[in-house]
Every structure is written in structure tokens, then in C-alpha cells.
Symmetry: C2
Subunit: 260 residues, 2 copies
């Protein structure tokens, strides 16, 4: 296979949140999206009509393209990748937690991990999204890095071990914060109060840590070791046992960080 | 006392984060900041030199002003308020959790609660901050509401019971999210990875819930019920017991929300 100068054609295995957002981003910079395969035909059709590409009936016979992006649940990556052993197309996955070695049977392979949360209901500007890149050799690395750099100003080389750590912390700041929003939403709703009250606070909390260390950004009853407020909060949470447990654990941890 | 048309002079008891940010905001809209009293003379001096006001030696003899704002720890509000029983100045506190009745011995009183996180190191634009207002009568309510409306476009009447619920959820989305950032920071640091990797994700997480319900915004291993990723994460957290406990509890709760 001759050396590619640039990636210009891409197919996808998977048609969920990550695949859809990436495909839109790639399409917007002039990359041809050739085919999509998904175990879920409905999703594949939605993806194909949005991206104006073909739906592949099975992954074994994808056309040769510069890059096949596997964006499927982590547990399925290896069994999908096996289908491309021997294929001339470069193969990458988009997973934070999965080692690059899961693609080790392929000729050309790597990782193309966008560190962001994607939902179909919301557009995301990829320009600021950190892309973590890894590849089986320098040429492939350069191709992937160049491609990511056309999508984002924030592209980094990261090995599988470090990517896994990053992904773990991403779960913490994204999934878990969002769960806190969800709990707050439920309590406010129960009391006929509008979640919109919290939006400016949520924004400011996220903005603050751009500028100051989270330890300095901390405020509130646990930070101040205001025992009576914490007791009152726990009493209020008697009928919200889930929230109560979270409140207890996190307040204890914050108290410890500042007062031990 | 004749009825005021508008509040134009304010003194503060307390010189911490909330007092300082409020005083700056009030000063910027032309309110005269007359005096500050604080149990911490160093803070009081810093406040006074920033705000170009006098330092009161004790709170018993504050000059008469249109409004005295008590911005001290929740547990101190009542003992401070007692000093103004009989004073002609209107007295408010800025606490989320403290009932307005804690000021019940005063002639004119209310609550002036800005729902935001304030740190001295970071400016906050008050324009979007929700101000929750309550007062002992309609005239005082109108005065406080008018004042808050000059600071912010987001002013609401809220009674003590609802304000307390709102404050509890504010702790959840602010203090607890920030604690998650802190834990993530520590793990990344331990592994020589830069916290800046997470900033775009943190921002997006906060932006997302402006537009879509937190239940729809959720992504990640627990949402997908990706057991093997969760197991791997817990294994990685063996040496971070605090983080591990948080991971377990919140993942369990997310799983339940979507899969039971």
C-alpha cells in the first residue's frame, strides 16, 4: 500500500452519538463519508440519511477507504476489529478505556478518541474538543494527527494507559456531575421549583475551574465546616435516600480535604 | 420612618466572599457603601480599602443607612441581627438556608440571597445571578426587589422554605461537582496528566443541561450499563479509596435510574 498523504475517505462501524458527531465534523471539513454499518439498522439508516452515505449490509465487505472508524460499545470493539484483519484501510476505535492493542491484528491501526460527551439532541463544536491520538506506527500517527488537527485545535498524543486514566476522570467530571444535576432536578421538581434557577450556578462552577484550582474554588457548608447546615440538609433529605447518601459521602470527603 | 423610594446607602456586617462580591456590585450601580464590620479586622480592612468605606469598630453603633446586609456564617446571623433590634435601617441576610424569621426582632427586614458561588480570586457578573428576595412587608419587599433588579435580570420572590430547598440543590450542583473536579485533578496530577484536558468536557457538561434534561444528557459506562468498563475503573481506583467510593455509589445510582 502506497503511503497516504492525507485521509480523505472514511467509513463508520457504529451509528450512535460518537459516530454521528464525528461523521458530521469530518463531513464538514470535506471528508467523504462512504459507508456505515450498524447492528441497529434504524440507527444506520438515520446516520446514512443525515450523512448522505451508504448503509453496509455487513461489516465484512466494507469498501476500501482511507480510514474505518469503529465507534461501538467498548465490549464489542475487538469482535468488530477482527473483521478487518487483512484489510488495507486503516482501522481506529474511539474509546477512552480500550487499549490500542485490541486492534493489534490489523495492518494499520490506531486510536482516535474525542474527550467529550455527545448526545444526538445537541450539537457540539469539535474545535475545542481534545482528541487523543495513538497509532501503530509513525506514518499512521501523522495521518491521524493531521486529520484530528483539521477538526480541533486541541490534539494530543496519548498512550493507552494514560488515555484510560483520562477517561476515568472524564466519567467523574461529566457523568457524575450530570447525575448530581439529575438529583437536583428531581428534588426541585418535587417541590415545584424550576431547575433554571441553578443554571447560572452550574455554568459558573464549570467556568471557575478554568481559572482557579478546584481546592480554591470550593465553597459551601462542608468547606466552611458548618455542621448545623449540614445536619439540616440531611434532615431535609430524609425522603430522598439516594440524594442523602451522596450528600453524606461527599460532604464528609470535602470536610476532610479542608479540615484534617 | 418615612417610606424610602429606593435604597441608596448600604453597610455590611461580614467581609467574606459574598459580602465582597455584593458590595462591588452595589458600588458599581452607584450605591454608597458606608461601613463594614467584621470579626476579622484584616478582612474588614481589605474590604474597606477595596470599597472605599469605613471600618466600624463594633456592630452596635453602625450609622443609619437604608440597608444593612448581614453576610456572615449562617450560625452567626441571629446573634448579629440582635444588635440591630430597634435600628431604623432595614436589615437583611444573604443566606440560603436561614429562615427570614431569624431577623424577626428587627423593624424592617428581609432576605437578599444571591444564588451563586463566590470566591475572592474570581470576578462574577451579577447580571445573570438569581436573587431570591423575601421581606417582612410589601414595601420592604419592593425596595429589595428593585435593588436586586438593578444588579441582576433574574430576581425572584421566594419564601424561606423554598429558598432552603434551592440552597440544598445548589450545594449538590456546585460544591459536589467541584469536589468531583478536585478528585479528578488529584488523580491526573498523580499521573502527570494535565487537568486542562478536562476543561472542554466540564464546560460542555454544564452547557448541556441548559438545553436538555439531565436524564437525556447522561452518557458513559453506567448509563450504558457497561459492566466491564465499570469493573476496570474500580480496579484502577484501588489506590484512590475516596474516589473509588464515590465511583461505586454514583455509578450504582445512575445504573438504577436507567435500568430498573
Amino acid at each position: 500500500m502506497g503511503k497516504l498523504k492525507k485521509i480523505s475517505s472514511v467509513s463508520f462501524v457504529g451509528s450512535g452519538n460518537v459516530a454521528t458527531h464525528l461523521a458530521h465534523g469530518l463531513s464538514n471539513i470535506g471528508i467523504e463519508i462512504v459507508e456505515v454499518y450498524s447492528v441497529n439498522p434504524e440507527n444506520a439508516n438515520r446516520f446514512a440519511s443525515r450523512l448522505n452515505c451508504s448503509v453496509a449490509k455487513d461489516p465484512d465487505n466494507l469498501k476500501e477507504v482511507d480510514l474505518i472508524i469503529i465507534a461501538v460499545p467498548d465490549s464489542k470493539i475487538e469482535e468488530v476489529a477482527v473483521k478487518f484483519h487483512g484489510a488495507r484501510s486503516m482501522v481506529v476505535h474511539t474509546s477512552g478505556i480500550t487499549s490500542m492493542n485490541s486492534l493489534g491484528g490489523n495492518i494499520s491501526y490506531g486510536v482516535f478518541y474525542p474527550l467529550q460527551t455527545f448526545s444526538l439532541q445537541k450539537d457540539v463544536d469539535l474545535k475545542d474538543v481534545p482528541f487523543c491520538i495513538e497509532a501503530n506506527n509513525k506514518d499512521n500517527f501523522n495521518l491521524l494527527f493531521e486529520l484530528a488537527s483539521r477538526l480541533s485545535t486541541n490534539v494530543k498524543r496519548l498512550d493507552s494507559e494514560n488515555r484510560k486514566i483520562l477517561h476515568l476522570t472524564a466519567v467523574m467530571v461529566n457523568n457524575f456531575s450530570n447525575h448530581l444535576y439529575h438529583l437536583a432536578f428531581d428534588i426541585l421538581k418535587e417541590n415545584n421549583l424550576d431547575f433554571d434557577f441553578l443554571i447560572p450556578l452550574i455554568q459558573e462552577t464549570a467556568l471557575k475551574v478554568k481559572d482557579i484550582h478546584p481546592a480554591d474554588a470550593q465553597t459551601g457548608p462542608a468547606r466552611r465546616q458548618d455542621i448545623s447546615s449540614m445536619k439540616e440538609h440531611l434532615r431535609m433529605l430524609d425522603s430522598f435516600p439516594e440524594f442523602r447518601e451522596v450528600y453524606k459521602l461527599l460532604s464528609e470527603q470535602i470536610k476532610k480535604k479542608y479540615h484534617e
